[in-house]
Every structure is written in structure tokens, then in C-alpha cells.
Amino acid sequence: MKTKRLRFERDSASALKNQKLQGALRNATDRFRTVREKATGEIKGWENLRIKAREIKKHTVEHLDQYLEILEENIMKAGGTVHWAKDGNEACSIILDIARSNNVRSAVKSKSMATEEIELNHALEGAGIKVVETDLGEYIIQIAKERPSHILAPAIHKTKEDIAKLFAEKLNTEPGLEPEKLTNVAREKLREEFLSADMGVSGVNFAVAETGTIVIVENEGNARLSTTVPRIHVALMGIEKIIPRFEDLSTFLSVLFRSASGQKMSAYVSFITGPRRKNDLDGPEEFHLVIIDNGRSEILAHEETRESLHCIRCGACLNVCPVYRKVGGHSYGWIYSGPIGAIITPQLLGIDKAPDLPFASSLCGACKDVCPVKIDIPRVLLELRRRVKNNKRTRAGFGERVAVRLWRFSMEHRKIYSLFSSLSYIAQKPWLQEGRLKSLPLPFSRWTRHRDFPPVPKKPFRERWKEIRDSK
């Protein structure tokens, strides 16, 4: 598990200079945004759906313990097994135990951010178990030995040329293949893997407490294959993925499809309630649900940031974020990126591990506008910023503390404010070039690095007011 402190400025520096990445990010986010706008624009009552989704999530999260117990009961009734994991290490142990006791030698995986969170592949491979990612994007980054850079589309930082080159190098395909041919190559290879795997590992989009059903949505069919062909199916989910009733799915599926991929419905929607029954023609013999905390109950405990748990991982916030558009997913240092990453990474890893992330935002609010469950991300960011400054390990450095003191003092004492105003008019003179301020000392140098600073006029407004106050 990550223990190093994440550094956003350093991690984003190379992304900003990478022209190819910039192009890839623009294309991908533009495309996602366009289809999302169309899909949500054409449905009447979209806003009401969002409100309803938020209400259900809020209620569920406030009664999480009760719903989790109901879920467990119903999964057991259906012949499945539920395991509880406090953290990533425990979850990996549990899954390894299941694998070992079933002589699992190879596993296929469908896309699951939670499994990335606990670094499951690493644990399985360490135990000598072959793991193959079957979602095309995940398959690509598995071959490239990289991390996902987007919640929905893990390989959007790669162009089709990148992928063709990757396949040529690692899979010995012809160089320069077109996307359709690349997909066929993956399809053929993966088909063999599905058929020979002993275990299938998946995530969970929604877990319905009332019926003990887990729901998985996808477009490729790889989750359907991973969860039905191998003997063992292990599903991993965070505690917050639960919803109370089957009928709640009509709200959540509607908002998820349209927000995530701009579809009315994804190509495959699987409802899985336990393992195969006696007379079923197919399906796994065993169904295991591993429910993981890994810091989520800590989020649950804080009312101001509890709504972070509403997230249904649609990725819409990434696609509208002006920051994500420029820095890409890897700059956020962990697997969750964009606005949602900026709020859950510090909460899951600890604020001292990711103190930059709450500040890596201009607070523009575009994310809040598109979130299907109406998470007020800017508000959560502000609360996290407050926590960073109040935490002994991450609070403001000397320079910033002096700046804040000065700022507060001048704003509380108008005469001092006016004094600073007059002083800055005089102080700027050495740096004025042709009426412009092109370079300034720290901290203003951080501004003038890329743009001119406005010159300070001789008379601030309050002095001009004195002149115009009595005139007509």
C-alpha cells in the first residue's frame, strides 16, 4: 500500500509538457462530455433523477451497517459467501485463501477500481497465480505495466499508435495495426484466458441489499464471461456500493449509463445473485463477495465529507474538470483521479499523504454540476483544505503563515490596508517595464512566470471615490 507522500506539482509537471498526452486528454474528455450532454439533455426529469439518487445514497450511507447485514443475509440465502475485510492487506489475504483452497492457478479479472486500490494483482502474482485483465483498457495497461489514468477508460492516455506499438513489442503482432485489428488480437487472446481460468474476479457497480444481488455494467462482455465461466467468482466491493432495494436500480442505472458513457444503457448488465443453482446450465460453483472498508468508515464518521461515499464511479467529473483535462490521471498519484480522486484519496490514504490534492483545483464547480448523485465536490474540497491547514503534519509553512497574518491584519485594519496599497504603488516601480509588470520577486514570481501582473494605479478606487462622491 502506498505510504509515500503524493506530490501533485511534481507529478503533473511532465504531463503538462507532454503534447501527445495533451491531445489524447482533449479528445477523450471532449468525446465523453459531448455524449454525456446529449444523453442527459434528452431525458426529461434528469435533475429529479439526480436528486432522487442523492437522497437514496444519503439514506443508505446513514444506515450502512443495517443494509450491509441485510445484504450478507440475502447473499448467504442464495448460496454465496460474504467476507469482511478491514483493509487492503486483509482483502488480499482473503482472496488468496479462496484461491489456494481451490487450487487456482490462473484468474481473469474484469475492471475493478477496488482491486487496483488493494493492489490485488500484485498479491495474486506474488503467490504464483496468473492474472489477466480482460477489460480492453485494463488489458492494455497491464501489458504496459502502468496504472489506470481514468475511472472509466484506464488507457485514455495512450493513442492508438501507442497501443499498436505496445502490441507489436509485447504480443508480437504486426506493427502499426488499426484499432479494429488490435481489438481482435486482444479478443482472441482473452478468449483462451476466459476458458482456462480457474477464478474470475470482478468489481461491483451496485449491491442490492434486498435481494442479495450484485450488479455489473459493461460494454465489452468481459465481465459477463469472467463471472460465469470460471469455477470460482470473487467480487470485491467497497462498503458504500450498497443500495437498499431492487427498484432503486432504476434510478441508479439511469444516472450511471448516461453520466458515464452517454448511453441509454450499456451493452451488458449482469444481475448476479449467488452461484449457479443445481439445475443451472452454467455459472460459477462458488460465489464470494469480499466487502472492504479500507478507510471508508473513517469518511463515514465525518458529516462534512460523508457525501464522498455517494460516488458511483461514473467518471463524469473527470471529463469536465479543467485540471484533469491538462494533467491526466497519473498526476493524482493514485488510482482515483480527477475531482473525485482529489477528495477520496486524501481521505482514504490520510490527509498527510495527499495534502496537495484538495488544493489541486480552481474550485470551478463543473464537477458538482455533472455529478449524478449531486456530491458537492467543491464544498468537500474546502473542508479538506481546512483539515490540511489544521493538521500538525501538513499545516502551512512559515512563509504562508506570515502571508496569512499580514493579509488578515491589513484587512482588519483599513489604514494598514491603505498603507500597503500606497507602498505597492511605490514598490512596483523597479519592475515596471513599459507600464507592465513582467517579472516580480517571490511569491509573485509564480504569477509572472506565465503572465504579466497588472500595474498598481496611483489612486485606488477609495481615493477616487473621495473626488467623485459629491459630484453628479
Binding site: V327, F359, S362, N390, W407, F444, W447, H450, F453
Partner: protein, 251 residues
């Protein structure tokens, strides 16, 4: 009847100038005074004002922001028959939207906050929604494009009002640019905390402004215009940068 002929002598307003306008762009304040007088609105300027506290609030220094916010409230609470008009969407949002967060545990301050929130308006919002004025009788020859500043658009919901005002200016050809409602990258202290990311976001905004073919960029927030204007100036792009009040005061 041309709205500029209407008499609004019954309307009294106090100007909340904002520190950026006061210190760097005083001509915006002068434009507002000029427009108010033209419309017959009695306008005053509480001289003790300094800041609404937003820079501290946004940077995680809630306690310091609260002290400054208290001061703001006491200054503008002295005459509650007056509207408060402000040339900034973000400062207006701070008072109208975020002050109740700051004072959520202080019922007395919360009451004052509610009173002030009910009469504080961003300038273009004030003109269109309170004064019901769209045509101020201004004239300006140019191709104007408008940047939607984030707080104004998303916290206050103001989108059509500035456009109505701009389009009513005689001689203006209004052009809507691409991604007009995408952030310019300013974000207050964000612009110096992560200057390279801020500048990268700004690059695309400049691209869209130039591509629109406009010769004038207008917005309702000087933070945004400082960011945008600073880049135009650095690159020697001769576009005119104006706060909407300056445009509306043109003749």
C-alpha cells in the same frame, strides 16, 4: 422607453468594491458609479470596507476568514435599506453562498448573514434582475466575447443577464466563443499554488478567445480578467480586456 431614462431615485445601493478592483482596477468602480448615477440610483461607498475573506476561506484558513467576514457584515449591516452591489461574481458568492457555512454555528451572525445575503447582488445581476434594465444607453464599437466566470455561473446561476446587457450596447457585435463556460484557470491562490497547471488551462482559454474573432473580451470578474489579460499582455495579443461595467459605461 429607454431604460436609461427611467428614474430609480427610490433605489439606494452601497458599493462593495472588492480588493482587486479597489487596488488594481479602480476604473471599474468609477464605471459602476457613473452607470448608477445615469440610472438615478443613489450610490454610496462604505469607506471602511476591505475584503470579504474569500482568499483565506478558499485556502483553508477558515478562522482568519471568519474574522474578516464578521467585519464585512458589521460594515454593510449599518443600513439595511440599501442594496449592496459588487463587481465580482466570486466575492458576491462568498457572501451569499459561503458565509452561512462560515457562521453555521453562530446564530447571531447567521441572522445578519441572511439579511445581507438577501440584498447583495453582482452588478449585471442587479441591473437586469433588480433594476430591470437591459439597455443602459451605452455604445461601443467592437466584436465582444464573454467569459462566464465560475462562481457567477455556477453558484449564482447568472448566465443570460450579462449577455442581455452586452447585446444591448449600440455597436457591439456579440460572439459566443467555444467553451465560454470553462474555467480560465485563475481559482484565486490556485494560480500561484499551481502556476503551471493554471497557465495550461489559461492557454486553452486564450486559444478560444482568439479563435472567436473577437477584439474585446468581457467578464464580470477581475480575477478572471487579470488571468486572461495577463496572458494577452505577455503574448502581445492586442485584444481589449474589459469588465462588463466598463463596457456599459462606454459611450
Amino acid at each position: 422607453m429607454n431604460t436609461s431614462e427611467k428614474n430609480h431615485k427610490d433605489i439606494k445601493a452601497s458599493l462593495f468594491i472588492t480588493c482587486l478592483v479597489d487596488l488594481f482596477f479602480p476604473q471599474v468602480g468609477e464605471s459602476i458609479v457613473k452607470i448608477c448615477r445615469k440610472l438615478g440610483i443613489e450610490i454610496d461607498f462604505p469607506e471602511d470596507q476591505t475584503c470579504c475573506g474569500q482568499p483565506g476561506f478558499n485556502s483553508g484558513f477558515q478562522g482568519d476568514a471568519r474574522a474578516i467576514a464578521k467585519r464585512f457584515l458589521s460594515i454593510f449591516n449599518q443600513d439595511d435599506t440599501r442594496y449592496i452591489i459588487c463587481p465580482s461574481g466570486s466575492c458576491t458568492s462568498m457572501v451569499r453562498v459561503f458565509y452561512k457555512e462560515l457562521f453555521k454555528d453562530d446564530p447571531q451572525m447567521l441572522e445578519i448573514t441572511h439579511n445581507i445575503s438577501s440584498r447583495i447582488y453582482e452588478f449585471s445581476e442587479f441591473l437586469v434582475n433588480v433594476i430591470k434594465a437591459e439597455d443602459i444607453g451605452a455604445s461601443y464599437t467592437g466584436k465582444v466575447t464573454y467569459h462566464d466566470s465560475c462562481h457567477l455561473l455556477r453558484e449564482l446561476g447568472i448566465k443570460d443577464e450579462p449577455r442581455k446587457l452586452i447585446k444591448s450596447v449600440k455597436g457591439v457585435e456579440f460572439i459566443e466563443m467555444n467553451l465560454h463556460d470553462t474555467c480560465c484557470g485563475f481559482g484565486g491562490t490556485f494560480s500561484i499554488k499551481f502556476p503551471d497547471v493554471s497557465a495550461s488551462i489559461l492557454d486553452e482559454k486564450i486559444e478560444n478567445i482568439v479563435e472567436s474573432g473577437a477584439d474585446t473580451i468581457v467578464s464580470s470578474d477581475m480575477g478572471c480578467l487579470m488571468q486572461i489579460g495577463g496572458a494577452l499582455s505577455r503574448r502581445g495579443i492586442p485584444l481589449k480586456v474589459m469588465h462588463i461595467a466598463e463596457l456599459l459605461a462606454s459611450s
